[in-house]
Amino acid sequence: MDDWTLLIHGGAGILERGKIAPEAEAAARDGLAQALEAGSAVLRGCGTALDAVEAAVRALEDHPAFNAGRGSVFTYEGRNEMDAAIMDGRDRSAGAVAGVVATRNPISLARAVMEHSPHVMLAGRGADGFSRDHGLEQADADWFALPERRAQLDAMKASGGSAFDVDMKYG
C-alpha cells in the first residue's frame, strides 16, 4: 500500500483577500509549496511520517514568511525565543523544547530530545546546551532577527499594546 497523506500549516489569523500585500501572499504560497514538496518527497520515497513532518517544518522554519525559526516574532525584550514539538504515532514518543534561542531548526532539536534523551521536554538555557552538546546547527541572534518582525514589536510598543499573536493581527 503506497497511500500517504501530508498536511502543513503556516499559522492562522486575519488573512483576508485584499488585506495581504500581493508579494506577501505570493511569498507565503511559495513557502507552503516548498514545504509541501519537502515532506512529500520523503513520503513518495516510502519514508516515515516522522521524517516527513520534520522535513516540512524545517522548510517552514527557514522561510521568513512564517512565525517560526527564521521568521520568529520578537519578545518584549527584543529577543527571538522559540518553541517546538514532534511526536511519533507508532509509540507516542515525543520531544519538545521551549524558549530556545540559538538552534537554527528548533523542530530538529525537539527530535533530538526525543531520540537522545530520557525526557520529553527541555526548556531555556538547558535546551540550548543540549543542542550544542548534540551537534545541532546553531544560529546567532542576527539570523533570526528580521526587520519586519522588529517593526511589529515597535508598532505594538508604540501603541501601548500588549503581546499579541502576529498571525491574528498581521497575517
Binding site: A12, A33, A35, L43, V53, A68, D165, M168
Partner: protein, 135 residues
C-alpha cells in the same frame, strides 16, 4: 506558528509544530505548540494533529489530544472531531486552526479565523495550497 502532520505508506502518523510565539511576549510565556496533547499530538490508534492560534485556549482545551479522543471514543470522523473541538475553543473565546490526518490517511483542517496558511498532498491527487478561508 508552523506545523505538519503525515500518514506514511506504512500506516504510521506523526506531528510536528514550531513557533516563535507571540509578538511582545514576556515572562517566558509558552503557548500550546510545544505542549504534547495541546498543540501537537500523534497516535496511530487515532490521528496526528498540529495547531495554531491563541495558545492559552488550546492549552486549556487540550485540543490535539481532545480531537484524538473524539475519534477513538466517539467514533467521529476526522472533520467532525476537528470542527467540534475548534467550536469548543471558539466558545471559550479562542481563535485559530488545526490540521489533522486520520490513521486511515483522511485529511482535515478546521479554522475559526478568516484564513490559515495551509496545504495538503496525497499519494494520488493534486496538491492544494490555500490561505483564505473560502479556498
Amino acid at each position: 506558528t508552523v506545523g505538519a502532520v503525515a500518514r506514511d505508506a506504512h500506516g504510521h502518523v506523526a506531528a510536528a509544530t514550531s513557533t516563535g510565539g507571540i509578538t511582545g511576549k514576556r515572562w517566558g510565556r509558552v503557548g500550546d505548540s510545544p505542549i504534547v496533547g495541546a498543540g501537537t499530538w500523534a497516535d496511530d490508534r487515532a490521528c496526528a494533529v498540529s495547531c495554531t492560534g491563541s495558545g492559552e485556549f488550546f492549552l486549556r482545551v487540550g485540543v490535539a489530544h481532545e480531537i484524538a479522543a473524539h475519534l477513538r471514543f466517539a467514533g467521529e470522523s476526522v472533520q467532525t472531531a476537528a470542527d467540534a473541538v475548534m467550536a469548543e475553543v471558539k466558545a471559550m473565546g479562542g481563535t485559530g486552526g488545526v490540521i489533522v490526518v486520520g490513521a486511515d490517511g483522511t485529511p482535515a483542517w478546521s479554522l475559526t479565523t478568516p484564513g490559515m496558511y495551509r496545504a495538503r498532498a496525497r499519494a494520488t491527487g493534486v496538491p492544494v495550497v490555500a490561505i483564505f478561508g473560502d479556498e
